[in-house]
């Protein structure tokens, strides 16, 4: 990209997903956004005569051909998302209409936008800072209502402020150390070591809690993954269906490419819960070798919780061997045990622990407690931080910040000279700057903008 394309190109892209839908939006941005649209738009007013923040109704006409009746929203620079002149053309959905509109625009000098280019222009025109640009990507990819809200808060700049705050405090610390290093013993007293140690430990704790909140963030962004295991005919599928029905959510059945597993998504109070059923368990009915079944193992490893389904009519302890296997192979992983087909057991089910539930997928009895237990698990695992949404890039950097600061603390306690401590603290400051965009790092830009698909 050279200077001329950044300033003079007019770009366009479909801003809504491809496919069948009620409406589609084509977004055009750049110095010629208004004039290229005026070549096709016929209404009571031209778009050129239209002030910013105004919507016009009219026909989109290419040559002699009426493409569609559309509305065109006009935004005038710098009061638009990108900071340039922007027109958003809202036409009827379906793959063809929007494509015809795009083709016309491309013919007369607009260019197809690169992935993330709208947001990149917003960044260049200082409408967004780097973490806000990242938040746009997060918002687009958010899989939960809470995630979207959090990303929206980050878009408002809250996360940047947190990181800037940490960085400012570190700058105070380095100031003390540099003062001590730069003046001879005769001029300046040594900084109180216990004070330094307290300052650094506090910072390490905060950075760690931010860094570990990536787990919460991942759940909010991508959903809560539950591996469902159980012997064949334990009623996993009917449990799935019952949960789906109860939650009145959109059903999406994704068959694995090798048909090794089934994943379904249900929404529980605005959280996406991905339930995965593992074929491995289904096939190995009596000899349960979790160790040996790679796919099952990796699926459980990547899950936030395991749900064991037992056919209670075969005995309440029928799957205890399986439970034991999971516990010993995945220590620390949260588990729920569902005693299904409770309606077939005379006298009902007496749960043996707080994570065990009796229910009947067929009749729907006892499903609400299961659903509530899932919700409680999600809330517990996302409680760490809901005011910022840390993504992988930021988490990686935060882990590096934490390790630099820990190394500084280690130098402090083992009595190494403070010029080493200074190296670690300076590097932590630089890394925090990379997160917030306060220091300049050429790699950061690429990483951030590579997460966009076209049109954002």
């Amino acid at each position: 990209m050279d200077a001329s394309t950044v300033t003079t190109d007019t770009i366009c892209a479909l801003a809504t997903p491809h496919g069948v839908a009620g409406l589609a939006v084509v977004r055009v941005s750049g110095p010629k956004a208004v004039s290229v649209c005026d070549a096709f738009f016929r209404g009571q007013h031209t778009l050129g005569d239209t002030p910013g923040y105004t919507i016009r109704y009219g026909w989109w006409i290419d040559g002699t051909e009426r493409i569609d009746s559309v509305t065109a929203s006009v935004f005038r620079a710098p009061h638009s998302y990108t900071g340039e002149d922007v027109v958003e053309i809202c036409c009827h959905g379906g793959p063809f209409t929007s494509q015809f509109i795009m083709n016309g625009l491309l013919k007369i000098g607009a260019r197809l936008a690169n992935p993330g280019e709208f947001t990149q222009r917003a960044f260049i025109n200082q409408k967004l800072d780097l973490t806000q640009a990242e938040a746009v990507a997060d918002l687009i990819h958010a899989q939960s209502a809470v995630g979207a809200q959090t990303a929206a808060r980050q878009l408002a700049g809250g996360f940047t402020q947190r990181i800037k705050g940490l960085r400012t405090r570190l700058l105070d610390v380095i100031g003390l150390i540099e003062l001590e290093l730069d003046f001879s013993e005769e001029d300046v007293e040594f900084v109180d070591r216990s004070r330094l140690s307290t300052l650094l430990s506090d910072l390490v704790q905060e950075v760690n809690s931010l860094a570990t909140s990536i787990h919460s963030a991942e759940i909010l962004r991508s959903g809560f993954h539950v591996a469902v295991v159980g012997y064949p005919n334990a009623g996993k599928s009917s449990l799935f269906n019952a949960l789906l029905e109860r939650s009145r959510a959109i059903v999406s059945e994704v068959a694995g490419t090798t048909r090794d597993y089934i994943q379904e998504t249900v929404y529980v109070d605005g959280y996406a819960v991905h339930l995965s059923d593992t074929a491995g368990i289904r096939l190995t009915d009596d000899s349960i070798e979790l160790q040996g079944i790679t796919l099952t193992r990796s699926m459980i490893e990547q899950s936030d919780a395991v749900l064991v389904v037992n056919d209670a009519s075969m005995g309440i302890d029928h799957s205890d061997g399986l439970v034991q296997d999971v516990v010993s192979n995945f220590p620390g992983l949260t588990m729920l045990i569902v005693q299904n087909k409770a309606d077939l057991v005379g006298g009902g089910i007496q749960p043996r622990s707080a994570v065990e539930f009796g229910c009947s997928a067929r009749s729907g009895d006892g499903l609400i407690p299961v659903r509530n237990a899932l919700l409680a698990l999600i809330q517990q695992q996302t409680s760490q931080s809901t005011d910022v949404l840390v993504n992988a890039r930021q988490a990686t950097l935060l882990v590096q910040v934490s390790s630099s600061l820990s190394s500084a603390l280690d130098s402090l306690s083992s009595g190494r000279p403070s010029d080493l401590m200074a190296v670690d603290i300076r590097s932590a400051i630089r890394l925090l700057g990379d997160i917030s965009g306060e220091s300049w790092n050429p790699d950061v830009l690429d990483t951030v903008f590579s997460r966009f698909c076209i049109g954002k």
């Binding site: 540099e178 001590e180 730069d182 001029d187 080493l420 306060e438 050429p442 830009l445």
Partner: protein, 619 residues
């Protein structure tokens, strides 16, 4: 009348002028050094001392590149001390106390014994320009001296005014007149100038006080010279420490109404890091005492320099204030402190080779660039001298990177940053402080000095011996396995955990509380006596081993940094067209015109998002 033509003319015989003349002459140029009063060449105008925190690094770097400051300091030194040994090796820094009469004599002898170099006693009133290039100078006696390059090292003398209280005298140093015409002439050529201030403390008579009442500050037990050329140095005198009291502060405050600083008579900004005593009292009102060190000005001098008491207050106030200091009740002031206000030229107008961007062949070095300190001036003089010689030869310029030398850090800062106060070097200004240690200075710079023709081969051979010793010792620590019973007693004594199986000496040396000296007797094939003699080598190996991880990490950072430096911004690049740059960022970029993205990112006022935007434009 026209004099013989010179290749390089150096104006001013201070620390910058000396290095510039000798470097250019050694590089084969015919050099003229012009001074208003040749007896004043090489004077220590302020404190009788060379080196100190970070400044000692500069003095060592000058030596490694083939400059002379370290040699002069060694030959005229009366006390030598390594500062900051209680801190990390990156901030170890040598300092000497020097005989104020001897220092200029040694300097002048060096100049006189340099071939191709003539000393000219004259005042320059005009810099001659022809065809957009410098062509020489005109002197006060209306002589034209032709030269292909001119290096301006005028120190604090441009339009200089001295202040003591409200008394004001024209001059750049006590008893010496200012240089008045050059500054205006350069302004008329379009160069932007500013005004700065510096000061010096009173000197007192040693005979008027009893030095036995003070805590002596002595040199090191084993004094180490600055220069690789010097074999040994010796401590001959002590300094003495005392402090101001609240009574001192009260009496000085009594003179604030007649202070040229506080009444607005002096408009130039002073150095924040070397403040006057009145500044310290005003800014640190909660401190009721400041350290004062009495430094002898020489072996045959009764004068004591009152370090920490720089002032431009009226004379009567200086007397009263001085006598309120414990031990100085009867002190006689031989010379009162004063402030000097002078013109400087903003160094953003220079290339990294210290040549004027506006006028080919004109170089600037020293305080005229807004710096403070002998060492800062001398290093610039050296770089300007080298580059003037290269310019005359028609060769490309010689510059040092920030990752290579404090000199590189300083010049990069000068070109990129605003000079709002006199610039002083600090170790914290270096991103790669750990790499710029004094024990690495000859690795970093001696080969470059040799290539330039400033460091003779026999000095390089001496350095290579030290290199070999260093490598041998490193290898010995790698190879030697230390037995459990051999080392555990010592480990426990110093407070380290004992080992359970034979371990390499190198691994043991990595522990913070173990020193190389303790391991020397155990190392295979190492003659202890060699390293007892070469303690610097032993100490160096200690640092190399202990800091290895950090040093490697910094080297990787340097490589990353180099990539940014290679992202070239074309000289013709127009910032004005990029509306999205911040207003301040655009102005700074337009003014300084950085050569690379890395440089742009270091300009204050150019934000990270400005640089990101630039980088998108440069793709």
């Amino acid at each position: 009348m026209k004099q013989a033509k010179y290749d390089v003319l150096v104006i001013g015989g201070g620390h910058a002028g000396i290095e510039a003349s000798i470097a250019a002459a050694k590089m084969g140029q015919c050099v003229g050094l012009i001074s208003m009063d040749t007896n004043t060449i090489g004077r220590l105008s302020c404190n009788p001392s060379i080196g100190g925190s970070a400044k000692g690094h500069l003095a060592k770097e000058i030596d490694a590149l083939g400059g002379v400051m370290g040699r002069i300091a060694d030959a005229s030194g009366i006390q030598f001390k390594m500062l900051n040994t209680s801190k990390g090796p990156a901030v170890w820094s040598p300092r000497s106390q020097n005989d104020k009469d001897l220092y200029p004599l040694v300097a002048q002898n060096l100049l006189l014994s340099t071939t191709n170099l003539e000393i000219i006693s004259e005042t320059v009133v005009e810099i001659l320009v022809s065809g957009g290039k410098v062509s020489g100078v005109r002197t006060a006696s209306n002589e034209e001296i032709n030269a292909r390059a001119v290096i301006l090292c005028s120190g604090t003398f441009l339009n200089a005014v001295m202040w003591t209280g409200t008394d004001c005298t024209k001059g750049g140093r006590v008893g010496e007149p200012p240089a008045e015409k050059i500054s205006d002439l350069l302004s008329s050529l379009g160069l932007e100038k500013g005004r700065l201030k510096t000061g010096t403390p009173p000197r007192i008579d040693r005979k008027s006080i009893d030095v036995r009442r003070f805590e002596p500050h002595n040199g090191d037990e084993n004094p180490v010279p600055f220069s690789i050329h010097t074999h040994s140095v010796r401590n001959q005198l002590s300094c003495f420490a005392t402090h101001t009291t609240s009574r001192t502060h009260e009496s000085l405050e009594g003179g604030f109404s007649r202070s040229p600083m506080f009444t607005g008579l002096i408009t130039g900004a002073g150095p924040r890091y070397c403040p006057s005593i009145e500044d310290k009292i005003y800014r640190f009102a909660d401190k009721d005492s400041h350290t004062i060190v009495l430094e002898p000005e020489g072996l045959s001098s009764n004068t004591l320099y009152v370090n920490g008491f720089s002032t431009s207050l009226p004379k009567d106030i200086q007397d009263v204030g001085m006598r309120s200091i414990p031990g100085l009740e009867d002190a006689t002031i031989l010379r009162y402190g004063y402030a000097v206000e002078y013109d400087f030229f903003f160094p953003y107008q220079l290339t990294f080779g210290l040549q004027s961007k506006a006028l080919d062949g004109l170089f600037f070095a020293g305080q005229v660039n807004g710096t403070s300190g002998y060492e800062e001036a001398a290093s610039q003089g050296l770089i300007a001298g080298i580059n003037a010689a290269l310019y005359v030869r028609g060769e490309g310029s010689f510059t040092l990177q920030r990752s290579e030398a404090y000199i590189g850090v300083m010049i990069d800062d000068l070109v990129n940053k605003n000079t709002e106060e006199p610039y002083r070097i600090f170790t914290s200004l270096a991103e790669y402080r750990l790499l710029l240690r004094i024990d690495t200075v000859y690795d970093r710079l001696l080969p470059q000095g040799n290539k330039l023709g400033l460091v003779p081969d026999h000095v390089v051979s001496r350095y290579e011996i030290l290199q070999r010793r260093t490598n041998e010792l490193v290898q010995a620590t790698q190879k030697t396995k230390v037995a459990v019973n051999e080392i555990n007693k010592m480990l426990v004594e110093v407070g380290e955990t004992p080992i359970t199986e034979p371990t390499s000496a190198m691994n043991i040396l990595r522990r913070p509380k173990v020193s190389i000296e303790q391991l020397l007797p155990m190392l295979d094939g190492v003659e202890q006596s060699v390293y007892q003699e070469h303690q610097d080598v032993a100490h160096r190996v200690d640092t190399m081993v202990k800091y290895e991880g950090y040093i490697e990490k910094l080297h990787r950072d340097v490589e990353r940094f180099a990539e940014q430096e290679q992202q070239v911004i074309p000289p013709s690049f127009s910032y004005l067209g990029i509306k999205s740059l911040s207003t301040e960022g655009r102005e700074k970029l337009e003014r300084i015109r950085p050569g690379s993205l890395g440089q742009a990112s270091r300009i204050p006022g150019v934000s990270a998002s400005d640089v990101s935007i630039l980088s998108l434009y440069l793709r």
